[in-house]
C-alpha cells in the first residue's frame, strides 16, 4: 500500500482520497477505519452505495443474518454484522439493546419499564423497540445510571 501525505493550507478539513483497482480485505478494512473515524457507515440500497452518518441513524437491526440501518425515512442494508458495528462505534451514542438490535440514544424519545424486567424504548419516529433484560444494565450505563 502506497501512502502519500500532503500538507496544504487551502484545505479547511483533512481530505482522504483512496485509489484502488480491486476491493481487497485490506481496502475494506481501511474504508471501515476511515468511516469509523468519520462516524459514518457504508450502506447500500437499490444497487447504490451510501455513506450514512451515525447522527442520522435511528437503529440497526439484524434480520435473517442481514444487517439493516434505519434512518428517519429510509432503510438501508449494510455489510457489517451487528457485533462489528458495535465494536467500530463502541465509544459513540449507540448501544446494544437485544440480540438483533442496536439503537442510537440520540434518536431516543423516551423509555418505560415493563413488569418482566424489560424496557420499551420509543424512538423520535415513534417506533417502539424492546430492550431485553440482559442489556438493560449496559443501556442504563450509557446514561451514567
Amino acid at each position: 500500500m502506497k501512502l502519500s501525505i500532503f500538507k496544504n493550507p487551502k484545505f479547511s478539513e483533512p481530505e482522504v482520497i483512496l485509489n484502488y483497482s480491486e476491493e481487497t480485505e485490506e481496502v475494506n478494512k481501511l474504508i471501515e477505519t476511515l468511516n469509523s473515524l468519520n462516524n459514518t457507515i457504508q450502506c447500500f440500497k437499490n444497487n447504490s452505495n451510501f455513506n450514512i452518518k451515525l447522527n442520522d441513524i435511528y437503529y440497526f437491526e439484524s434480520v435473517d443474518e442481514r444487517s439493516y440501518v434505519y434512518t428517519k425515512d429510509n432503510v438501508y442494508e449494510c455489510k457489517e454484522k451487528l457485533y462489528t458495528i458495535e465494536e467500530t462505534f463502541k465509544n459513540t451514542s449507540i448501544v446494544r439493546v437485544s440480540k438483533s438490535c442496536i439503537l442510537n440514544i440520540t434518536k431516543l424519545k423516551s423509555v418505560r419499564p415493563f413488569i418482566n424486567g424489560k424496557f420499551e424504548a420509543t424512538m423520535l419516529s415513534d417506533e417502539k423497540i424492546i430492550i431485553n433484560r440482559h442489556y438493560v444494565s449496559a443501556f442504563k450505563k450509557k446514561f451514567n445510571i
Binding site: 424519545k109 418482566n116 424496557f119 444494565s137 445510571i145
Partner: protein, 152 residues
Amino acid sequence: MLNRIKHYFTLDCVIFTIMTVVLSIVYYFATWDSTVKTITVEGLFKTFGTMVFSYFTVTTVMAFLFMILEKHINENGYIGHLISMAIVLSCVYGLGGGVFDWFPIFSIWSLYTFIVIVIVYTIVFFTMFHKNVEDSNKINEKLKKMQEKNNE
C-alpha cells in the same frame, strides 16, 4: 465479570435483608414452639446467630444460581420468572428445610413457607421494578434535556 458479581452481591443483600425482616416478623408472632418462650438470652443470641448464618448461606447460593442461569432468566420473559421461582423454592426447601431444619418439610409448615416465599419474592420483584421506574424517569429527564439542547 466484576460488575456481574457486584450486581448479584447487591441482589443477595436485598433478598437477605427482606427475608430476615419477614422471617423475624413470622418468628415473633409464631407460637408453635413453646421453647422460644423459655429460651435464655445466651441461647437466643446463639439461635439468632445460627438463623442469620443459615439465611446468608441460602441467599448466597440463590444469588450464585441466579448468576449461572442469568441468560435463561433474562431471555425467557415470564418463563424466566418461573426459573427464578424454581431457584428460590429449591434453595429454601432443599437447603433451608433439608439442611438447616428451618421447618419440617412434610408438614403444614411447608405451605406456610411457600406463602412466605411468595411474599418475599413479590417484595423483591416490586423493589426491582420500582428501581427500574426510578431509573427510567432519570433517563427520560436526560433525554428531554438532550432534545431541548438539540432544538436550540
